[in-house]
Symmetry: C2
Subunit: 211 residues, 2 copies
């Protein structure tokens, strides 16, 4: 395939390099194609890629990889020109500059609201990211679903970990209660897959793989 | 442990039943403890649980399971009374009544914004939920990380599926581009675990298990 990669950082660099090695034609589109620091990237692809202006990379690719920092995304798309009919792989995330969160949505959570309402309670977000149909049977083949928990009180999280482990879950502590901002959308993804996408309420679950 | 389960529906019913079977003392707290339809729940626990008013269940439990519909949550907590020092397991999600989304946050996404900017392009959200360090090495032991994609154009998703499969990913099609609203917070969860929680950028990845 002919692939135009807009953005030559961490994400775009990795994808362009990997697909070039597999025989695809890759052009990186950057705002500064003459910048000498692009040489290392090109060298890492064994000369099988080239660097061009964003518009040239976009024109070249049948597939466009959009791998820009969120703040640079609108301008990059404007520079790309006409994208009609092209497959555009959007790798962006609307991250705040300090990586503290997303700039679209998720500035609060039910977990945090519950903690504000339930004054004094040691709140642990848990059992919200997988359907209750699986609570008694968290094994998928030989692997257990992960139970993702979040909370500000370590001893309360230990209690929940013990209770969840009894049911056969592998517990993943995702940190402070604020992480409920990410666990609640994950619940929404699970619900969406179960019902809108037809995976079914006992059909699927997330597991966090570790190396 | 002494467990008070607030809400006796799908989630609370399952957890209370399972923990009662494992020897814990479980009291379900509901607004209508005299309602005859609670009999089936109690029967399913072999008489090892009881049903009480929300305040009684909350007073009983050292651990409180909060498993209410979001719209009933504030009132349930108010009915529970003093929760100081109790471990409260928050299983709620701030779901819209029609399950179409969360009522806190995530009413838009970078993916949808990109599609509005890149008119005519066939946008596929992809490669945003796992760090680029893993793109060339998506195997964790014998299991590959899942690559979650979303988009409105099936043929564009096929193209992306082929490209991601070449890299060794197992691709999960999460449906329309709107699902980027759930994939972007999942990216945030991955980033949070990698950096704030110390799992590291090559240390972890999500896999969708299927039965």
């Amino acid at each position: 395939m002919r692939i135009g990669v807009i953005g030559a950082g961490n994400v775009g660099g990795a994808l362009g390099r990997l697909w070039a090695r597999r025989g695809h034609e890759v052009v990186f589109g950057v705002p500064d194609p003459q910048n000498p620091r692009r040489a290392a990237l090109l060298k890492s692809t064994g000369g099988r890629t080239r660097v061009a202006a964003v518009a040239d990379a976009a024109a070249f690719g049948d597939v466009i990889v959009l791998a820009t920092p969120w703040s640079a995304t609108e301008e990059a798309i404007r520079s790309a020109g006409d994208l009609t009919g092209k497959t555009l792989i959007d790798c962006t995330n609307p991250l705040a500059a300090d990586l503290s969160g997303l700039t679209l949505g998720t500035s609060d959570s039910a977990g945090e609201q519950v903690a504000r309402w339930a004054k004094g309670a040691r709140v642990v977000k848990a059992f919200n990211t997988i359907g209750a149909e699986n609570f008694g049977d968290p094994l998928f083949g030989e692997q257990s679903a992960s139970l993702l928990i979040a909370g500000d009180e370590p001893s309360a999280k230990l209690t929940v970990t013990r209770l969840a482990t009894e049911l056969g879950f592998e517990v993943v502590d995702t940190g402070p209660l604020k992480a409920a901002r990410w666990l609640e959308p994950l619940a929404m993804l699970w619900i969406h897959l179960a019902y809108a996408q037809g995976f079914g309420p006992k059909g699927h679950a997330f597991r966090l793989l570790r190396r």
